[in-house]
């Protein structure tokens, strides 16, 4: 014989609704009383809006939104060099100038490990390290940052851009 559960009584349904209302009230109270849940609730709404706003963007474009122009520049190095490239980077001082023209990318890019992640398997060699003799890698390209780097090339360049990457 098949076992069936009887139809729920009105009383059972009301009791269920009362417990549901109680649980719901606890969570509303928590969201209102605790800054953490309030932030989380707002984050859920913001996240939904952000995902709708950026859903057509590629993964790299989304990363640019999170990481800014540092990533844009490193992506330029990545897209314009072969995987085996060893790229000469400017001295840290070039990235640390406080004027507006250098605000395009910031000193985060001087963090060797962090910056290398975005161009890997290409290698970054910083001029400061070459001077200190701590790197054995021979650069194949030079990173142009605010016109720094053109003087390293043994050939003339007709059209110069402030940010670029050139082969030696």
């Amino acid at each position: 014989m098949k076992k069936l559960r009887g139809t729920p009584s009105a009383r059972y349904i009301v009791k269920n609704l009362v417990v549901l209302a109680g649980v719901f009230s606890v969570f509303v109270l928590l969201v209102k009383a605790n800054t953490g849940y309030d932030l989380l609730f707002n984050k859920l709404l913001q996240e939904r809006a952000a995902q709708q706003q950026y859903e057509d963007l590629s993964y790299d474009d989304r990363r640019e939104i999170k990481l800014g122009y540092n990533f844009t520049y490193l992506q330029l190095l990545r897209s314009r060099t072969p995987e085996t490239a060893v790229i000469l980077m400017p001295p840290d001082s070039v990235f640390r100038k406080p004027d507006g023209e250098h605000a395009f990318i910031d000193y985060w890019i001087t963090n060797r490990g962090w910056a290398s992640y975005f161009v890997y398997p290409r290698r970054l060699v910083y001029s400061d390290d070459l001077g200190a003799g701590s790197s054995h890698l021979r650069p194949t390209h030079v990173a142009i940052v605010h016109y720094w780097g053109y003087d390293k090339l043994a050939y003339p360049v007709d059209k110069k851009y402030p940010y670029d990457v050139m082969p030696f």
Binding site: M1, K2, K3, L4, R5, G6, T7, P8, S9, R11, Y12, K15, N16, L17, V19, L20, G22, V23, F24, F27, L30, N34, T35, G36, Y37, L39, L40, K43, L44, E47, Q51, Y54, E55, Y59, D60, R62, R63, K66, L67, N111, R112, G113, W114, S116, Y117, Y120, P121, R123, V125, S135, H136, L137
Partner: protein, 460 residues
């Protein structure tokens, strides 16, 4: 390929969990499956790498796992001959009332939001980019842990790159499967934490209570944030917290299955982050306690040897193969500095009771501890759990006290950074303690009884 590859690691975990602890309820085994499967997956990749096999052959890794799944399945089916009881299983898993459905709905929604967020955004946090995700990218590119990051002439590693390889290898695994982000691994552990915690909670409270505490866990703001980032903290929290819970129950119920699974989780924790050493010490104490009560000295010896082998294997690899040293910024000589301790302690209190980090969980836990004080003598089950939390926390604080810092405002904020995320390891333990308390049980059992009086009867 992406989904199939992850599903194979899940099945791999199911097979191993059934081998270790067939007697456990299905819900618990589902919670354990993926973390154990991914842990074993990392171990297999490490062994293949040592044997000189390129890890870029991810199909080979999956093929070996499939063969092992089949061998284990045949062994388990022959040994246990399990009867198929899907109907009774479904009835036990879904005790329907509206509040429970609402709470489970919130839990599923939170996991969905974390998953959607994790898959939408690429990896961008500093710790991962200059740490395990970079190692993972290099493993996926070069097929070995011994890659360009560890080139002694041009090193690109940070302290986090030298963490034990479980996280980096699994991140590499998902990249090799074709995923664009390693976030998916962290999401799996977040969801597994929820399933495992729910399964543990149902042993100490009603299903409604279990759902309530599971939602409290999933909505811990700091954990919710980190679950969709490329962070190793939720992964470590799974192994440490669930491992300790399993060992606590092994001691409480003299269960061999819990002892085996708990020990495996703690050993895997040691392959995740260095902080797991603290939890493995507490776990070692629990296994020792179990061994003394059961008069089985081999258990504690095997556990100790497994911990040493796992931790030692990575340290030997670092020194012998990669030839790098993972020096921790710690002073191993115990020294007394009242000023340092005072500054650290005030920062610890500030972070621990910060509502924006852990929501109501820490407050609830402290309130329940105080309410339980009159009943300490009668709490055979929960008092040891409180002891585990207290000892682990004190040891954890000792590690921070021994760090080479003065905790002055202008120095590295270890408490606001590492400790803050390290508290994830304690949250499941705290919530289980709350749920098992007489106060919580009284409330939820009353609600369930009140509902049950008008429940429609079963008719033939």
């Amino acid at each position: 390929m992406e989904i199939a590859g992850l599903f194979i690691t899940f099945l791999f975990g199911v097979a191993i969990v059934n081998l270790l602890a067939y007697q456990l309820p299905v819900g618990e085994k589902m919670g354990y499956a993926w973390p154990v499967g991914l842990g074993a997956n990392a171990l297999l990749m490490f062994v293949l790498d040592l044997c000189g096999v390129s890890l870029r052959h991810v199909a080979l890794v999956l093929a070996i796992e499939l063969v092992l799944i089949m061998v284990l399945a045949v062994y388990i089916l022959r040994r246990y001959r399990p009867p198929v009881q899907i109907k009774s299983l479904l009835e036990r898993l879904f005790p329907i009332n509206l509040a429970w459905i609402f709470l489970v709905g919130i839990a599923v929604f939170l996991v969905y939001v974390v998953t959607a967020r994790a898959l939408f955004w690429p990896v961008y946090i500093y710790d991962s980019i200059y740490g395990f995700d970079f190692v993972a990218k290099a493993v996926a590119q070069e097929g070995t842990l011994h890659n360009a990051i560890f080139d002694p002439q041009h090193p690109l590693y940070s302290l986090r790159s030298l963490y034990p390889p479980l996280v980096a290898l699994n991140f590499a695994f998902v990249y090799l499967l074709g995923f664009e982000t390693s976030h998916v691994v962290v999401v799996i552990f977040y969801a597994s934490l929820a399933v495992s915690l729910y399964a543990f909670l149902t042993r100490v409270t009603t299903h409604l209570g279990a759902a309530f505490y599971t939602v409290l866990f999933l909505s811990v703001p700091e954990l919710f944030n980190f679950a969709s980032l490329s962070s190793s903290n939720p992964i470590c929290a799974y192994y440490c917290a669930v491992g300790l819970l399993a060992l606590w129950r092994a001691v409480d119920t003299s269960s061999h299955a819990d002892l085996r699974i708990g020990s495996v989780l703690i050993v895997l924790a040691l392959w995740t982050r260095p902080e797991a050493i603290v939890f493995s010490v507490v776990a070692g104490g629990l296994v020792l306690w179990w061994s003394i009560r059961q008069k089985r000295v081999w258990s504690v010896l095997i556990f100790g040897a497994a911990c040493l082998v796992f931790w030692g294997s990575w340290q030997a690899y670092l020194h012998g193969v990669l030839q790098v040293t993972g020096d921790q910024p710690m002073d191993f000589m115990l020294t007394w500095d009242a000023g340092k301790l005072s500054r650290m302690w005030s920062r610890v209190l500030e972070v621990t009771f910060h509502g924006a980090y852990y929501g109501a969980v820490v407050y609830l836990f402290v309130a329940i501890v105080f309410l339980n004080i009159p009943y300490f003598g009668k709490q055979r089950q929960t008092l040891p759990l409180l002891g585990i939390i207290a000892v682990a926390w004190l040891l954890y604080l000792l590690v921070f006290y021994q760090l080479d810092t003065d905790f002055m405002p202008d120095s590295t904020d270890w408490i606001g950074d590492a400790y803050r995320r390290g508290l994830f390891n304690f949250i499941p333990l705290m919530l289980l303690y709350c749920a098992a308390s007489i106060w919580s049980r009284t409330v939820f059992e009353f609600v369930e009884r009140w509902l049950a009086t008008d429940k429609p009867p079963v008719v033939e």
